[in-house]
């Protein structure tokens, strides 16, 4: 019973922390650019404000536009049930790494569809670019998941986490590190971060993800924004849990749990800093340069699989 409760708490924490992570990254970026920036809880306020407003939906759009925010939200909540953050428990009785990949793919599919639905030029442009990026990055994600699955002999994320966390240093090797590196690029690419996309731009010619949300307003926009915040949090959590999960609580005792929570927060913060540094120091890549980076991620993951077999 305790494990079930813990798993629920964990999921709730992931869902609750998501806007905070976005807020922290924004704040860090502001510091690095010598601005004061909004407070770190600003995303909560933004979401709350949007939730109170009504939505305007284009007359030409169909039911796809209406249901997409809910599809996205539900997929993300389901995904959050599967991801271990500070304790190796989850409600993922059925799901494994592959299901996670498909949940994310479903979000993307519906978002792209909804962007096309309203028939605006920007939406179409955004979804075509999103599909380009995802078709290049998805193989990298699958291959890096494949690597850890090979290393640990399981595809369930919780088991992966606990096997790596309990096996000491012997699993640290080129395969794991390369897969981690590949997944980090995937974190940036999947969540529309620099250098793939710039989350804070609304410049017509460059935006990818934002272009797909242009038609949304009010409550629907809040749901979409919130889904992508959760998605970022989940990716960051998976990056740690699937590849470098050390510190996570593998047994249910108070000290282990306390350590797990502290380590988890530290890990979130670390990646937040990394993302903020990258976003402050690099420029967004030109669209035509994107395949270079994304194929690079794919090759990293490929090398990971190869070094698993070879070394």
């Amino acid at each position: 019973m305790a494990d079930l409760v813990l798993a629920l708490i964990q999921t709730a924490a992931l869902l609750a922390l998501a806007p905070l992570l976005t807020g922290i990254i924004r704040k860090l970026k502001a510091w690095m650019q010598s601005r004061r920036g909004p407070p770190i809880y600003q995303p909560y306020l933004d979401l709350a404000k949007l939730m109170r407003k009504g939505s305007v939906v284009s007359e030409d759009s169909s039911w796809v536009t209406t249901i997409t925010p809910y599809v996205c939200l539900i997929s993300m909540v389901v995904a959050a049930l599967l991801v271990p953050a500070f304790v190796t428990e989850s409600l993922g009785f059925l799901g494994d790494l592959i299901v996670l990949v498909y949940l994310f793919a479903m979000t993307r599919f519906f978002t792209a569809l909804a962007a096309l639905d309203a028939g605006s030029t920007f939406g179409g442009m955004g979804s075509s670019r999103e599909m380009l990026v995802s078709s290049l990055i998805e193989p990298a994600i699958l291959l890096s998941f494949f690597t850890v699955a090979l290393l640990t002999g399981t595809t369930s994320l919780v088991s992966v986490t606990s096997v790596i966390a309990t096996s000491g240093a012997s699993l640290i090797g080129p395969a794991l590190l390369l897969a981690f590196a590949a997944f980090l690029i995937a974190v940036l690419a999947e969540n529309a971060r620099v250098p793939v996309d710039n989350p804070s731009t609304h410049l017509e010619l460059t935006m990818i993800h934002e272009a797909m949300l242009l038609e949304y307003s009010g409550k629907d926009l809040a749901l979409m924004e919130y889904s992508s915040m959760v998605k970022l949090t989940l990716f960051v959590t998976i990056a740690w849990s699937a590849f470098l999960p050390w510190g996570v609580a593998t047994e249910i005792t108070a000290p282990a749990l306390a350590l797990g929570v502290i380590v988890f927060l530290a890990k979130l913060l670390t990646l937040a800093v990394v993302i903020a540094v990258i976003e402050s120091s690099m420029a967004k890549l030109r669209l035509f340069r994107l395949p270079n980076l994304l194929t690079g991620a794919f090759m990293l993951a490929f090398l990971a699989v190869m070094s698993y077999f070879v070394l």
Partner: protein, 218 residues
Amino acid sequence: MAELDVNLIDGLAALVLLTAFLIVATGRMRTLVRVFALQSLALGLLAAAVAYSTGYWHIYIVAALTILLKALVIPRIIDRVMDRIQVANDVEPSVRTPSSLLIAGGLAILAYYVAEPLIQSGETITAGALALSLAVVLIGLFVMISRKKAITQVIGLLVMENGLFMAALSLSYGMPLIVELGVFFDIMVAVLIMGVFVFRINRTFDTLDTSFLRRLRD
């Protein structure tokens, strides 16, 4: 202890291959030279790790020479050449970067299949690195073929040499010392001679693009 050694050696071997991929991926000449230096450094450290875990002193000499010549002197020479003739910083691949990366990946798979029977018969602690070294050799060859500038061809050749060197380490803990020294000497002389040719080509043709070199044919 022994396991940690193996982990370290494997990690460095993977780093050598990773840098080979970076050499394929990079679009800047300066970065290319830096990455090559990094690769040589990783290779030197790999040799040192092998020397440490096997206790063969002559590998230390080889490791030191690798770091000195390939990670420091040769990149410096290439940098000099590039300064003197003011090479544009673009690599100018004739195969675009994503395709290049995929081809390099294919070559790595090929290397794995070629090396597999050899790995089975190998007895050294580093036998696994053989596939990676063959991959580095093939990628070096690919860099030579797919990049137009004379300097990149030289770097491709050096990458091939690095791969060979790793193959020698992983199969037989290197070659007899006299042979290693001779090989180093030859490589140094080869780089110097190619450097001179790069100057002359640049002076005569006013470009480094070797695709201009096609007057001689039947």
